[in-house]
């Protein structure tokens, strides 16, 4: 799925997968920090996948 989305134009680094047990709070914090950092390094996603208002021609 990661391959597929990146194939259709989602930048590498925007999509993250992780397996975190409910007991691994520290891992959760670390992963979230890492993800937010990495995603902030990329430019804004140009509102891709965010619908704002109906498009009228």
């Amino acid at each position: 799925m990661k391959n597929f989305l990146e194939h259709t134009g989602i930048e590498p680094g925007r999509l993250h997968f992780s397996w975190i047990s409910s007991a691994e709070s520290t891992k959760f914090v670390d992963v979230v920090k890492k993800i937010t950092h990495e995603v902030k390094m990329l430019d804004p996603a140009n509102k891709r996948y965010v619908k704002t208002e109906p498009k009228v021609d």
């Binding site: 799925m1 391959n3 134009g9 997968f17 891709r48």
Partner: protein, 315 residues
């Protein structure tokens, strides 16, 4: 192709007469050129309508889902792989099926042929490897090989993988073709180019869902696009809704798609929808060594777990 037609009729009549099957699913001549219709023959009279030529590109596995009768079905390579997928997914039992195997030499691309002419085509005749297209004031001979559907031109499974009887001798499989040529090309683009490529690709989409309806894999009682509680995807033609539909539709086919090309064949806008599923097919082949529908005894990669499954994507 005349021999194929005669043989199909002969087999269908025999099966219907001796009660081996309750119906034979095949093709009959369509009302428009290059548009053959699926046909369900339940008596020997209607078996006479069955026929075969290079316009039988729809996937007949679509018509056996959840049926309880005994069914004779005409199947070329891709149909037979989808029948195997149906059996694996418990949508039909193997012993309900009598598969009439068609060694296939490819189907012709009606989008391509229609685009070649400015006026309406009124008849398409086929003899051997040549195809004669004619309209009101023209007639042109084409070579079948030049107007094959893209998936047929790069097909590596022309012979049925599972069958009870063949209508002709097996054909030679193509080995010097690369079905994933266009995928490799897209892979070499950067993220922005990829995004724009797919944006252009699906921009003509009118959300008619013909691709879903023609696909033998799309048998959910209620499709995610039709559900309203919850509504998974917007019904508008907003580029984001259109893309969401195409991504999800393709991903539902991951590890199951046989690249039969039915989706592209029925698309009224001529969108190359297979660009999505082809990437998933290529990934399945590279990551799991899997091609859909080749064996009744193997489970598909997305419903099994192995400790050595590739996991580079997860941290």
């Amino acid at each position: 192709m005349k021999e194929y037609t005669e043989k199909i009729r002969e087999i269908a009549k025999r099966l219907l007469n001796d009660g081996t099957v309750d119906m034979v699913i095949g093709f009959r001549k369509g009302t428009l050129p290059m548009m053959n219709q699926p046909h369900i023959a339940t008596c020997t009279d209607s078996a006479d309508e069955l026929m075969w030529d290079s316009n039988c590109g729809l996937n007949l596995a679509n018509y056996v889902t959840d049926r309880k009768e005994k069914i004779g079905i005409v199947a070329k390579g891709c149909d037979s792989r989808n029948l195997v997928t149906h059996v694996i997914e418990n949508k039909i039992k193997r012993d309900q099926l009598y598969i009439i195997g068609i060694p296939c030499s490819g189907m012709i691309d009606h989008h391509k042929i229609t685009a070649m002419f400015d006026t309406d085509i009124t008849s398409v005749k086929e003899s051997g490897e040549s195809i004669t297209i004619s309209g009101n004031d023209f007639s042109k001979k084409l070579i079948k090989q030049d107007v094959l559907c893209e998936n047929c031109a790069a097909c590596t499974h022309r012979n049925p993988v599972e069958y009870d009887e063949l209508v002709a001798d097996l054909v030679e499989e193509q080995t010097d073709v690369d079905p994933y040529e266009s995928v490799t090309e897209i892979e070499s683009m950067d993220a922005e180019e990829k995004w724009n490529y797919f944006e252009d690709l699906i921009s003509p989409c009118i959300r008619c869902y013909a691709c879903r309806n023609a696909c033998p894999l799309c048998y959910c009682p209620t499709c995610f696009v039709d559900e309203s509680t919850p509504q998974w995807v917007g019904k508008s033609q907003d580029p984001i809704d259109v893309r969401t539909f195409h991504l999800l539709r393709a991903f539902h086919c991951a590890g199951r798609c046989t690249d039969c090309g039915a989706c592209e064949r029925v698309c009224p806008m001529g969108i190359k929808i297979r660009e999505f599923t082809k990437k998933l097919n290529k990934d399945c082949l590279e990551l799991y060594g899997w091609e859909a529908g080749l064996s009744l005894d193997e489970r598909p990669p997305l419903d099994t777990f192995k400790t050595d499954d590739p996991d580079e994507f997860i941290k």
